[in-house]
């Protein structure tokens, strides 16, 4: 195997704080960004922002909901001045599947399969977020081995999501197939592991309140070890192909810049936020599960453009591999679910809870209100990609329509989660 790409810029990008040693970038370090005074204040958007005097005639284009580059059934109403975007209004709801209404008509356990279908690339992360919220509500503890399994499955999911995202992003830029095919080749390997564990490729429905559904099948850890050990080769391959690619750099440098103040105020989370230089990763901030046991770094960007967002994904995959290697090394024996938890007719106490995790796309939260019955009184999903789209217009204004497609691609949306 050849040496990984000699690309120090990536490392510099990762350590935006310059000479800070990796391990010093820990969770207790405060964010260096906010200066004193009223900070992170964004100008509220007017109902119809004033359109500057056009050079020519304004053209209104409706992109989507059937458009190959909108990642599903997303629609943007764009006003163009020549090729420049002067206004962009996203239109949602074409995949509004009533998750929240159905969630209030279904028992707590019955909602678990529905969470698979939210962000259908990352079903296991969704499971975890929901299980975490319910465990917070009911005060449940998770056995040690189950915590490790959760970390392993969630980080594998992150690998699936980020590699597919890079493939789709490059697909949007016009590379017909190659990165996407490479990404899906790796995705199939991980999906085979998921299938061996849970019985399903995509809709895993594996986590339970107080643990996981079943223990690992024999040989599963070795299968995952093989995948994880070979994964850096794939990342190197992608990087050799893409990171210094002239076309990619020309298309992404300086495109769709998201200033950090706006990013925080608009609630952007996940890799898009960290590409703007804000060190906020819930794995470090909340330290949910057992993430405080692992050594890993939080990559940060400098400019907040599409290239940084692309690079965030690559670097986060490398960090995920590190977490996976540590988790696979340390996983103990033991039960995977608390035997005292009664999953059927599960009835948490009266109250409410908001639980959140760092899903691959950002902060995925579940807000549950229990009235003491078997069904949640209110079941709310805080979808990261929906809220990350708040700033889509701000990022796209002034760029061409072709740039809007890749800006949207780098936000990383999945319509199942955006519209729910």
């Amino acid at each position: 195997m050849s040496k990984p790409l000699d690309f120090d810029a990536a490392e510099q990008l990762a350590m935006a704080t310059g000479d800070v040693e990796p391990e010093q970038l820990d969770h207790d370090a405060p964010v260096s960004l906010p200066p004193p005074g009223p900070r992170y204040e964004a100008v509220p958007r007017a109902a119809s922002p004033a359109i500057p005097e056009p050079e020519g005639e304004l053209l209104e284009v409706s992109v989507g909901p059937h458009h190959p580059s909108t990642h599903g059934v997303f629609r943007m109403n764009v006003v163009l001045d020549g090729e420049k975007i002067v206004q962009l209004k996203p239109v949602f709801g074409y995949l509004h599947r009533n998750h929240e209404k159905l969630g209030e008509q279904t028992t707590y356990l019955g909602n678990m399969p529905y969470t698979d279908r939210l962000d259908y690339f990352c079903s296991l992360s969704n499971n975890w977020a929901y299980a975490l919220a319910v465990e917070k509500l009911a005060g449940l503890k998770v056995p040690e081995r189950a915590e490790y399994i959760r970390v392993i499955t969630a980080e594998l999911t992150r690998l699936v999501n980020h590699s597919s995202l890079v493939g789709f992003l490059l697909h949007d830029m016009g590379t017909m197939g190659t990165p996407l095919m490479y990404a899906f080749r790796e995705r199939e390997k991980i999906l085979d592991a998921f299938e061996a564990l849970t019985g399903a490729r995509m809709m895993c429905n594996y986590h339970r309140f107080g643990g996981c559904r079943v223990d690992l099948p024999p040989g599963w850890l070795d299968q995952v070890r093989t995948i994880v050990d070979n994964f850096p080769r794939f990342i190197d391959e992608m990087e050799r192909l893409l990171s210094e690619n002239e076309v990619l750099i020309a298309r992404t440098h300086g495109v769709g810049v998201l200033p950090p103040e706006l990013a925080v105020n608009a609630g952007v989370t996940g890799p898009s936020l960290r590409a703007s230089g804000i060190n906020y990763d819930l794995r470090k901030v909340d330290r949910y599960g057992i993430y405080d046991r692992f050594q890993f770094r939080v990559p940060l960007g400098e400019k907040g453009d599409v290239y940084d967002r692309y690079m965030m994904r690559i670097l986060e995959m490398r960090e995920s591999v590190k977490i996976l290697q540590q988790a696979l090394r340390d996983i103990p024996e033991g039960p995977v679910i608390d035997p005292k938890v009664r999953l059927r007719n599960f009835t948490p106490p009266v109250g409410e809870a908001y639980g959140r995790i760092e899903a691959p796309k950002g902060e995925l939260g579940f807000y549950l209100i229990s009235d003491g019955s078997k069904k949640p009184y209110r079941y709310r999903i805080r979808p990261p990609s929906f809220i990350n789209l708040t700033v889509l217009e701000d990022m796209c204004r002034g760029h061409t329509l072709a740039d809007a497609v890749i800006i949207l691609g780098a936000v990383d949306i999945v319509l199942g989660e955006v519209d729910r």
Partner: protein, 210 residues
């Protein structure tokens, strides 16, 4: 030709056919091996559709890898995912824009019946209510192999089609519709909620026809 004679001749290695039969075979053979699907994903199933077109499952083996973004160039619509009421008029419009002959595969439980979301207020309980579906693929989501199986089933359907006579397929009948009315957004539901020509009534529930 007498079928007995034809059978006898074929045993001796002489194959006979008629001009019409040859024409039918060639016409159907060409169509079934170059189905161009519409590049059109709705939800989760679309990801498995993409997976089917990737290297591992390789839908190109069956001549259906040319995903066309424009309905004008496609002749197979794979309804891959949940059709919501907000999306249903656009799906029908896309179908209307496709040239004949055209086929519909309903992929996944949601496209067939609403699937796990069938109790939702914004979920259409199956695309059959507005479009004629040729092949249904169950599953949530169906594996890529299941999509390939559905595609082969459709190819067999096409292969068996007549091009003359009363059993002609829809696209060769002059009076048969090739477009279907597009529902409008109503105040509480789609208007109309289903197309009675395509969806004549409820299916017989179990136990009724005793």
């Amino acid at each position: 030709m007498d079928p007995g004679l034809q059978n006898e001749l074929s045993k001796r290695g002489i194959f006979t056919t008629t001009w019409q039969e040859l024409l039918r075979f060639g016409y159907n053979w060409g169509r079934k091996n170059s189905l161009w699907p519409l590049n059109f994903g709705l939800a989760c199933c679309a990801i498995e559709m993409i997976a089917a077109s990737m290297a591992r499952f390789d839908i190109a083996r069956f001549g259906a890898e040319v995903f066309r973004p424009s309905p004008r160039q496609a002749d197979l619509m794979i309804v891959a995912g949940t059709v919501t009421k907000k999306m249903a008029p656009l799906v029908v419009r896309l179908y209307n824009q496709m040239p004949e002959p055209k086929y519909v595969i309903a992929m996944g439980a949601c496209a067939i019946s609403g699937g796990p979301f069938k109790q939702g207020y914004n979920v259409l309980k199956g695309i059959d209510r507005f479009l004629p579906v040729d092949v249904h693929i169950p599953g949530c989501p169906p594996r890529p192999e299941a999509l390939l199986h559905g595609l082969i089933t459709l190819q067999k359907l096409i292969e068996a089609q007549e091009i003359h006579g009363p059993n002609k397929p829809r696209h060769l009948q002059e009076t048969a519709p090739n477009e279907y009315p597009i529902p409008r957004y109503g105040r509480f539901d789609l208007d109309p909620p289903k197309n009675p020509e395509v969806w004549p009534g409820r299916p017989l529930p179990r136990g009724e026809n005793k």
